[in-house]
């Protein structure tokens, strides 16, 4: 007797499970949460806190906010950031001032932990929401964040 009740129970639970899948089969349109990625390239917007890569924003006068204090370099756990700096004479005050030559960012070594951006006292570096990092050449992943000929913005001290 239990043999038949087992079969009955087995078939019953099987159909209950199939009922769930059947429900979504016929109401698939409402429940779709998948991103149709390559097709929605133009409309896809990442969350504003998404950690894509580190960038250094420049304003229209080609000025950034980095003073070369090296806080980010020290905060980085795996040495993705290298700063090459020099003391140059500030033409207005006539004093020597620390200025960055190159802010080198190795994207290939970055773990996106966000400690550099936390450490930056002048908000010189921020996250960009760019996530398409694939390149054909590994050297393209080493980026110089400050644009050529850029200067530090006036009035930014560390």
């Amino acid at each position: 007797m239990s043999y038949f009740s087992d079969i009955y129970k087995g078939i019953k639970t099987l159909f209950q499970g199939m009922g769930v899948t059947g429900k979504y089969f016929f109401h698939a349109r409402k429940e779709i949460i998948t991103q149709q990625y390559p097709d929605n390239k133009d409309t896809l917007k990442m969350f504003d806190r998404f950690r894509g890569e580190v960038v250094m924003p420049h304003d229209e006068n080609n000025e950034h906010r980095c003073t070369g204090c090296q806080s980010c370099e020290l905060a980085c756990p795996n040495g993705s950031i290298e700063i090459i700096w020099d003391r140059q004479v500030d033409p207005e005050t006539g004093k020597k001032k620390k200025m960055i030559d190159k802010h080198i960012y190795h994207l290939s070594m970055c773990t996106m932990c966000g400690l550099c951006i936390e450490a930056c006292p002048t908000n010189a570096i921020v996250w960009s929401q760019e996530f398409k990092h694939a390149t054909f050449n590994r050297s393209e992943l080493t980026k110089i964040l400050n644009k050529p000929g850029s200067k530090v913005k006036k009035g930014i001290e560390d």
Partner: protein, 373 residues
């Protein structure tokens, strides 16, 4: 010369077989050396070290802020809870009192992590015993949690949102609404888990009475988390040594006494319900206040030994720090739940069939980077 004795001609012998390191059911690079007699398992020997990254050694080099992001890469499914463990040990050592707001946010995110981890486990568990559909359903629900994490923390898996002294930044304005939407939605989705898998007779036959672990063995192997609670061993760190917002919260510890695969399965399903209830009780009462207390740029722990344990989705994670007063620890040891849980696998499966091995190892909920570190 061909022997004529029938016993000699059909003689069976034990043999070795490797399961893994590349096997879809071992969830990572875990190699199990099986000694089998026909279909009966005589011995299981886990071989570790394929994904060892010397995280503990790297911790001796890094500052306390930098250690936090390494723990993301241990048990990546409960990354937030791992981060919390390191932050708590640093805060305890510095005798730093974090604001109430931080504690509540940490707890909500920890419970969301637990749901997401258990949901993924449920999908994979179904897949391991042959029900491929469950995987897609689990990932559908996980996706909503990942969106919450991405919006607030900035990353979906390796969040690194906790810092010693609080949180990296305040919660996103949409956070409360998103969590409420998710809870409302997930409450309608969780019963589907039962309909799809738990009540299924084939699944019950595969799991009931399989992989038995007695309460005594659960204690002596040092198992923790749902594996130990499935055997009736009350070991929830949140209950026995409460931290963060668990100190003031009322929740049930899920216990099952059967000790088999189905019991461990039921514990995890029930824990998802408990987590949902916990988040519901917290999400409306996030206190106002700061999201972090200021710490020095270079944190130096006082001389001494510090220990803190937390309950991750897999069990008890302990962080043991020996400090000599420097900016990085002299020695840091992680007591990971997966390692101890794996040690009980041999006891559970010996004498069982090879087909049950995958079901049993699946309920251990192994995350191999957590075992190897």
């Amino acid at each position: 010369m061909i022997t004529t004795k029938i016993e000699d001609r059909f003689k069976t012998e034990e043999y070795f077989i490797n399961m893994g390191p590349q096997h879809p059911a071992t969830h990572g690079v875990l190699r199990l050396i099986l000694t089998i007699d026909g279909e009966i398992i005589k011995n299981v020997e886990p071989d570790l070290g394929y994904i060892h990254r010397s995280i503990e050694k790297m911790c001796e080099r890094d500052s306390y802020q930098q250690i936090v992001h390494l723990t993301d890469r241990m048990d990546y499914l409960s990354a937030h809870i791992n981060n919390e463990a390191v932050c708590l040990v640093v805060e305890n050592a510095l005798e730093l009192e974090v604001p109430e707001r931080v504690k509540v946010i940490r707890t909500i995110l920890a419970e969301l992590t637990r749901i997401s981890s258990h949901a993924l486990w449920w999908g994979v568990m179904g897949m391991d015993v042959g029900a491929l559909t469950t995987f897609m359903y689990a990932f559908r629900d996980r996706e909503l949690i990942n969106d919450i994490f991405e919006e607030t923390c900035g990353a979906r898996l390796t969040m690194n949102y906790n810092i010693p002294g609080g949180l990296m930044f305040d919660i996103h304005p949409n956070f409360v609404k998103r969590v409420k939407d998710f809870i409302a939605e997930f409450k309608t989705k969780l019963p589907e888990y039962d309909t799809l898998l738990t009540n299924n007779v084939i699944f019950q036959k595969r799991t009931k009475g399989v992989g038995f672990l007695s309460r005594e063995d659960a204690i002596s192997f040092g198992t923790s988390g749902p594996v130990a609670r499935g055997s009736g061993y009350s070991c929830d760190v949140r209950k026995h040594h409460p931290y963060s917002a668990y100190t003031k919260m009322d929740f049930k510890e899920v216990l099952r006494t059967a000790g088999d695969t189905l019991a461990r399965y039921e514990v995890r399903i029930q824990e998802m319900w408990e987590s949902v209830a916990m988040i519901e009780s917290l999400i409306d009462n996030i206190p106002e206040g700061d999201y972090k207390v200021a710490t020095k740029a270079v944190i130096k722990l006082p001389k001494g030994e510090f220990y803190q344990k937390v309950e991750t989705a897999r069990g008890e994670l302990g962080v043991f720090v020996i400090s000599k007063g420097d900016k990085s620890p002299y020695r840091l040891k992680f007591r990971s739940p997966g390692f101890s849980n794996l040690s009980a696998l041999n006891k559970m499966i010996v004498g069982g069939k090879i087909g049950d091995l995958v079901a049993v190892s699946s309920t251990l909920d192994l995350v191999v980077p957590d075992i190897d570190r």
